[in-house]
């Protein structure tokens, strides 16, 4: 579904991504682990097109999308959420979801009717709101809801485009253990045919949702395998107990 | 202009009932720029106009009420203010107008409304040419009038090769054009011509270098306002005055700018219809009175206002009381004023006046003053397609 081949990117002398090759099957849920500065977010940025790689290709559903813009990739079914909330702060939760859904349903660029009040958009908004447990907050303004709710919305907005592949950048970043557990349930409730690539810090969550695990260190893939293999890997332990611990 | 527009303008006018004022009370709409780039000219003209009313108004049996409006030297604003003066204030007569653009914009309104307008500055040739109107009487000058005589004058001085330079807008082109035509007719040759972006040129250096290498015997220039000051100063700083004497339309070294130009202006020879050093009794009285009122010497702009007021008063004295009779009387204006014998040409409603060739020289106390070199005879402009009708 999503594949990279030898993806490389450097800023000056610093190689942030080195020869990264990944392959995700349809419906696969993969978690990317790695210490801070391992190049996880930079990898995401290259996948969605916010950064152009120096070398290598990105394939989405078999199509080479390396040369495509962010929006073109998004329209082909690649969606992402951000580690730092990237929401429409002045708007309501419903409007946030609605904007995303109106893109999905092709109403984003008309001058005849309101995109947010369309039946299909409204249906998607409700579905997503239920998926990410946002029903009670639909009419609240983003700037008025709690941080945790915003984290849910962050994922909700990405989901509302009805993607084939969803990249989630530390969805539980900054939330307490209670909320993280909630996220775990939430992720498990997502449709099984949705391909997920998740950057995660929370090891429990990672092992609970992942079909497979990739570990990045210094921009390189140092481990690729099942959660069981990961658990037994000494390499992972080294990284985990080493630099990772300090983060 | 299409008939439709004419009909349109007439309809605009007709829609508001035209009421005339009382016989002894003349309501004057004074339309001048009181803010913006031309504010200095507006001030000069207003001072001159009020002085003229004070000086000549006594014994006319009428009282004058002035409604002043700021045109901002912007055609749309000038037009809006004109409509207000005509329709709402119901003035008997209008005076003023500095910018030719404003005059062009308001021409159809005053013509359609049959409100006499005494132009106190704007010099575009069309206003008393193809776009003339019996209701528009010009007491200032026309662009060609000031420049045409200099063509022959320069040839008479033995100058046959001239480089011309001027601001790139209608007035600049008309002034330079009128000079060039007369100069060529008298046997001269224009060896180079340059029009610089109007009000956008800070540095004339590049153009001056071109003039220098053009092989001309003299440079003929038209600029006004800040550009005139910059141009004359920079011309001097490049040391061009000795090798390449500077001539031009008299606005270049107007009384209004000569203080700021200082020594740089000395030696420049230009032609204009008024300088404060004209030697006649009417001018001496005017200069004295103006100095008392304004604290400085009058410029040509001041005399425009002064004479416009005088023309109005004379019209009232001849028995005119309303728009129609005032308009008719203004067409017959004729008097000896500070500029000498001035009269309105019945064929175009433009003023006919002598032109003075003058040189800026160092006067007493180091201040620059104008030395009149020659008084060229008054000459009426060609009719240029004007079909003038007399009002009565």
């Amino acid at each position: 579904m999503l594949e990279t081949r030898n993806l490389s990117k450097s800023f000056g002398a610093i190689h942030v991504t080195r020869n990264v090759s990944l392959k995700l099957e349809r419906g696969e849920r993969r978690v990317i682990l790695g210490p801070n500065g391992a190049g996880k977010t930079t990898l995401f940025n290259q996948l969605v097109g916010e950064i152009t790689p120096d070398e290598g290709q990105v394939f989405l559903a078999g199509e080479d999308v390396t040369a495509l813009s962010v929006q073109a990739r998004a329209r082909r079914g690649l969606s992402r959420s951000y580690q730092k909330n990237t929401l429409f702060d002045g708007l309501t939760v419903e409007e946030n979801l609605g904007l995303a859904a109106s893109v999905t349903h092709g109403h984003w660029h008309n001058i005849r009717y309101d995109s947010l009040t369309r039946r299909d958009v409204q249906d998607t908004v409700r579905e997503v709101a239920e998926q990410v447990r946002l029903m009670p907050y639909l009419h609240a303004r983003v700037s008025d809801v709690s941080y945790g709710v915003r984290r849910q919305l962050e994922v909700g907005v990405a989901l509302a485009t009805r993607p084939l592949v969803l990249l989630m950048d530390e969805p539980t970043s900054g939330v307490g253990p209670e909320m993280a557990k909630g996220f775990h349930d939430l992720l498990n409730d997502l449709p099984r045919d949705l391909t997920l690539l998740i950057i995660e810090h929370d090891m429990d969550l990672a092992f609970a949702v992942a079909d497979s695990i990739t570990v990045l260190n210094y921009g390189e893939v140092v481990f690729d395998g099942s959660p069981e293999e990961a658990r037994g890997s000494s390499l992972l332990k080294d990284i985990y107990l080493g630099a990772w611990e300090d983060a | 202009m299409s008939n439709f527009v004419k009909a349109a303008v007439a309809a605009v006018i007709a829609s508001s009932a035209v009421a005339q004022a009382q016989a002894e009370d003349i309501k004057v709409g004074l339309l001048l720029p009181f803010s913006g780039v031309y504010a200095a000219l507006g001030e000069e003209i207003e001072t001159g106009f009020r002085l003229g009313l004070d000086t000549f108004g006594e014994g006319s049996g009428a009282s004058f009420e002035i409604v002043r409006e700021d045109s901002e030297a912007s055609p749309p604003v000038g037009l809006a203010k004109t409509r207000k003066l005509v329709m709402q204030d119901k003035v008997d007569v209008m005076a003023g107008v500095v910018s030719s653009g404003v005059l062009g914009a308001i021409r159809d309104v005053v013509d359609g409304a049959k409100v006499p307008l005494i132009v106190a500055n704007a010099g575009n040739d069309e206003a008393t040419g193809e776009a003339c109107s019996p209701w528009i009487t010009r007491m200032s000058f026309s662009n060609q009038q000031v420049n045409r005589p200099m063509g022959k004058y320069l040839v008479d001085q033995g100058i046959t090769k001239v480089f011309t330079i001027g601001a790139d807008y209608a007035a600049g082109q008309q002034m330079i054009g009128a000079f060039a035509e007369a100069f060529k007719a008298a046997g001269g040759e224009i060896v180079g011509q340059e029009f610089t972006p109007f009000q956008k040129t800070q540095d004339f250096g590049p153009f001056l270098a071109k003039a220098k290498s053009s092989g001309a015997q003299a440079v003929y220039a038209f600029y006004a306002g800040g550009e005139a000051i910059s141009f004359v100063k920079q011309y001097d700083s490049f040391g061009m005055k000795d090798a390449l004497p500077l001539y031009g339309a008299g606005f270049l070294t107007s009384q209004l700018y000569v203080d700021a130009q200082g020594r740089a202006a000395e030696g420049v020879v230009t032609a204009l219809h008024y300088v404060p050093t004209i030697d006649n009794e009417a001018n001496r009285q005017f200069v004295e009175a103006f100095k008392v009122k304004a604290g400085h010497l009058p410029s040509e702009y001041a005399v425009h206002g002064y004479d416009a007021a005088r023309a109005l008063v004379e019209a009232v004295k001849s028995g005119a009381t309303d728009r129609e009779t005032l308009g008719a009387a203004l067409q017959k204006t004729s008097f000896d004023g500070p500029r000498g014998a001035t009269a309105i040409d019945p064929a175009t409603n433009n003023i006919v006046q002598p032109i003075y060739v003058y040189q800026i020289v160092a006067g007493e106390g180091g201040a620059q003053t104008q030395k009149v070199l020659s008084q060229l005879p008054a000459e009426a402009d060609p009719v240029n397609g004007c079909e003038m009708a007399l009002i009565n």
């Binding site: 969605v48 916010e50 813009s69 962010v70 929006q71 998004a74 969606s79 951000y82 730092k84 990237t86 929401l87 429409f88 702060d89 002045g90 708007l91 409007e95 904007l99 995303a100 109106s102 893109v103 109403h107 984003w108 660029h109 008309n110 001058i111 005849r112 995109s115 303004r141 907005v157 485009t161 | 439709f4 527009v5 303008v9 309809a11 605009v12 829609s15 508001s16 009181f34 803010s35 504010a39 700021d70 912007s74 055609p75 749309p76 037009l79 809006a80 409509r83 207000k84 709402q88 030719s100 653009g101 062009g104 914009a105 021409r107 159809d108 575009n124 790139d168 807008y169 209608a170 109007f198």
Partner: protein
């Protein structure tokens, strides 16, 4: 997100009633003022569409209006087109130019966007000023008004013309609010709040910006074509950047991102200008000081202030959003974390 609140309906109704009353009863100059206000209001609605809902603070809307005025004047006077056809032509030409400007400038943000639009506006000004075809400094005179005698209206009557301007203003108000409540407007508002996210959702950002800027330019052109008919004359001064600055000030004065606010701003500005200039030649000074005070006050203009006082659900102020956006941009430039 643009919404019609009841306060906005009330304000709209009140303004409409006052305008009609004034157009019916006022003396000549009062009627002229109605037309002047209506034309300015059309221009500032156009500007509010892009500035208040897209964060595109344009300093070329005066030039766009001027372009519309010139296009109308040239098409009628020089080409000899029928005024109504010229009206449509002016809107089309200016809309296309405006779309291009939006497409090019849409890539820049904040002060860079302001400067870029300023540059394009001044380019238009220079073009009109310096190309002899356009009549240079003297402009083009003898611009006719649209002939509506077929439906028994004579636009040369000041009162009728004022009503025509009000009619167009009403149409423009409807069109602008309609577009802002349609997909395009919603998406644009989303872009103003978070451009990066909108892109990640699959929105072709520059296209949305260019389209809205084009529509806004068409409305500005309508204002220009009306202005040309109003004074029956066009001159380069219409395109000068100070006109754009003034329009922006009017938008702020009334309330950015409210559509009805700028209309109120236009009323206040024109009346203020006439009132002050009747008393002093230095009216620029007085008006300038008042405007500085308004911009420096935290309220979002007259209408923003009213909304804050009168309505319980505080709509988000576009001014805050833009200011906030800038802080975020700056922070992003410095690679800083949000505090």
């Amino acid at each position: 997100m643009f919404r019609h609140t009841s306060l906005r309906f009330w304000a709209l109704g009140l303004i409409a009633a006052a305008a009609v009353l004034r157009a019916l009863t006022a003396e000549y100059f009062g009627v002229e003022m109605v037309a002047e206000i209506a034309i300015l209001a059309i221009l500032v609605i156009a500007l509010d569409m892009v500035a208040g809902f897209g964060g595109m603070v344009s300093l070329c809307h005066g030039a766009l209006m001027g372009a519309g005025a010139y296009a109308y004047a040239m098409l009628t006077v020089k080409v000899g087109l029928a005024p109504s056809a010229a009206f449509a032509g002016a809107i089309a030409i200016t809309g296309a130019a405006s779309w291009l400007i939006g497409a090019v400038c849409g890539r820049s943000h904040g002060i860079y966007f302001i400067m870029a639009t300023l540059a394009f506006g001044q380019m238009g000004y220079s073009l009109v000023f310096e190309q002899p075809v356009f009549g240079g400094d003297d402009g083009v005179s003898g611009v006719p008004r649209i002939d509506l005698s077929l439906i028994g209206l004579d636009l040369n009557d000041p009162r009728t013309f004022a009503f025509a301007c009000l009619f167009v203003l009403g149409l423009v108000y409807w069109f602008a609010t309609h577009v802002l409540q349609a997909g395009l407007g919603r998406t644009l508002t989303g872009i103003m709040h978070n451009e990066q996210r909108m892109r990640a959702l699959g929105v072709n950002v520059w296209r949305i910006k260019a389209d809205m800027f084009g529509l806004s330019g068409m409305i500005a052109a309508a204002a220009g074509a009306l202005a040309a008919q109003h004074v029956m004359f066009v001159s380069p001064g219409l395109l000068n950047w100070t006109v754009s600055g003034e329009a922006l000030v009017v938008v702020i004065l009334g309330g950015l991102g409210t559509i009805i606010g700028p209309v109120i701003g236009a009323i206040a500005f024109v009346m203020l200008k006439h009132e002050v200039s009747a008393h002093t030649d230095y009216w620029h000074l007085v008006v300038g000081l008042i405007l500085i005070a308004v911009v420096m006050s935290r309220a979002n203009g007259i209408f923003g202030w009213l909304e804050q006082r009168l309505s319980r659900a505080r709509p988000s102020s576009a001014r805050d959003v833009i200011a906030h956006q800038v802080r975020k941009d700056l922070a992003a430039q410095g690679a800083l974390e949000d505090a």
